[in-house]
Symmetry: C2
Subunit: 362 residues, 2 copies
Amino acid sequence: MSPTRNRPLPMTQRAAPKSKPKSVPATRGSRATGRVTIIDVAAEAGVSPMTVSRALKTPALVQEVSRHRIFAAIDKLGYVPNQAAATLASARSLVVAVLVPSLTNTVFIETLSGIRDYLAGAGYQFLIGETGYDRAKEEQLIATYLAHAPAGFLLSSSEQYEILQSRPSSRAIPAVRMFDLGRSHHELSVGFSQIRAGYAVARHLVERGYRRPAFLAAQLDPRMMKRREGFRKGLQEAGIDPDVEVLLPLPTTVDMGAQLLRRVLEQHPSCDSVFCCNDDLALGALFECQRQGISVPREMAIAGFNDLSWAACATPSITTVVTPRYDIGYKSAEMLVQQLKGEEIARGRLDLGFELAVREST
Amino acid sequence: MSPTRNRPLPMTQRAAPKSKPKSVPATRGSRATGRVTIIDVAAEAGVSPMTVSRALKTPALVQEVSRHRIFAAIDKLGYVPNQAAATLASARSLVVAVLVPSLTNTVFIETLSGIRDYLAGAGYQFLIGETGYDRAKEEQLIATYLAHAPAGFLLSSSEQYEILQSRPSSRAIPAVRMFDLGRSHHELSVGFSQIRAGYAVARHLVERGYRRPAFLAAQLDPRMMKRREGFRKGLQEAGIDPDVEVLLPLPTTVDMGAQLLRRVLEQHPSCDSVFCCNDDLALGALFECQRQGISVPREMAIAGFNDLSWAACATPSITTVVTPRYDIGYKSAEMLVQQLKGEEIARGRLDLGFELAVREST
DNA sequence: CTGAAAGCGCTTACAG
DNA sequence: CTGAAAGCGCTTACAG
């Protein structure tokens, strides 16, 4: 309950600081910004600026009387700490840079929510970069963000991770890789096995008796390819042809799911089930089946990936892989902050697993 | 094409600066960070730090020879500008704070994409805050963000706007209000009329011959209430009872749309059409009709709001209001930057309008 | 538990 | 077109 620099400041007070007889600015140079500084607070509270700084960062080290006077002064003057000064002086910022492939994908938004929830509690802000699945864009964003001296990075691509690791150790910036798992516990990562998830879908379709499953995918990023790899493996183990697939290197949309379904029916009319590499595609495939009067799952089974909000309540409800998106964000942020604080990290490679939600569509 | 501080820095070079015989740090105090600074670059290029600063910010004011030497030095040393120092010295940051009600809502994500696209081109970063439709949360976020001395705010609630405006003018921070339109051109805003959009849907249903339309809404924020206001007005003008509605103060989900449809059928069995205040609800309503075997639009018409990706390709396709989400973000950012640069703003109240996409569901 | 001094890496405001 | 000086508002590193 002790006041910290993150407690909400009283807006009304800050909005009317005219009552403050500010004595310092007259003695400042011509560059005075008119901002209330730690020096103003110190003067008001009758202590040194250093003590104000301590009251804000390590209140336990400040005598209670001083502390009270300092916080009264902060409220009275409407002091707002200047992060730029803090960052410059300490060479450490409270900003984490997050890079995700896409912001229009609900999946990553939920991950960002997890990140935000953890970081907000830990007193960090974050900058969000969208790489658009593009390597050059990633590098440029990292370069831009480095200028902000972020405390750390949360990344969603292994390439990015390697870029940061290649910096000289004196200027190394901690990073955690999200979604995919790293090779060892030294390479911090939080995610689940895309390969095993794809494999689980294949096993499920095979067990349900489907003999001609297809793999449908757009936005062919490395994770999609791993789902595919697992899916193919599952089919092959069951002696089923894994080459019934339609892959389009275009952005994922619901409409693209309808297109992919049309294509697979043209190319493989005997296809009896589809694994769509995400739920947007699955929804589009379902709509296309409805449009063509194809009964789901009797004539065509549909499985998706991620368990977005509509999967459970579609008609029929859609079988899908439930992925720990929020937790990936939350736990990645937690791991990064532990690293920043130099705390022991129990597992540097955190597998959060996944779950197959079997529903009406298969 | 002239180099600016935003151009991509050569990652490979920065990753291997061991070759650099850095001469300055030895003379610095014990707090030396090991970072390459503008002073290092100046020494390498044989100019003063001030000239390096100019080469980065106003290259036109630096002689071409010096400029070349400076950029060569920057590349060689792997210099990355320190934003914290720049912000502190100039009292101006290149960070814009953006507050949106929700991040799990696709609508705001697309707006963020527009913001990002404009700001990236203008050299700004942005911080994203999620208010959760909560007033207290908004105030707290604003207070937190003020500590980062953002250049400006992009807001999505009028209350926030007023908080910022109430600051003393010496410390006023420019803000643009998104989605809703302000009262005058002095209050910067970019959006469209929620009331007229709701009205347009009512007119459409009435013209199609529906006599018993219902309004379905969750997440009862002010904008929803304005859509409702317009919708009611449209019905009343046609002599139709506007009180057929189900309002739930809960977060919007697809499943909630199904629930709302069930409720309205219980409470108003004669209802022949529904205006769902967003497309998630409309999708849920459609699924519920399919589940119950209710023919859309013959037995029940469905209209949504926003034109999310599935609206056009659902079976049947869903009539909805196409909103300029991306443009709202882009234009808001543009207006804010114009304000920051002290440029003339043609229209401080920018109405981007909306469009009614009439499809199969009505 | 407290404070004086120095410094973080830039930019402003001048002066040439 | 260029540079020396001072300062932005904090924190570090000492010293009491």
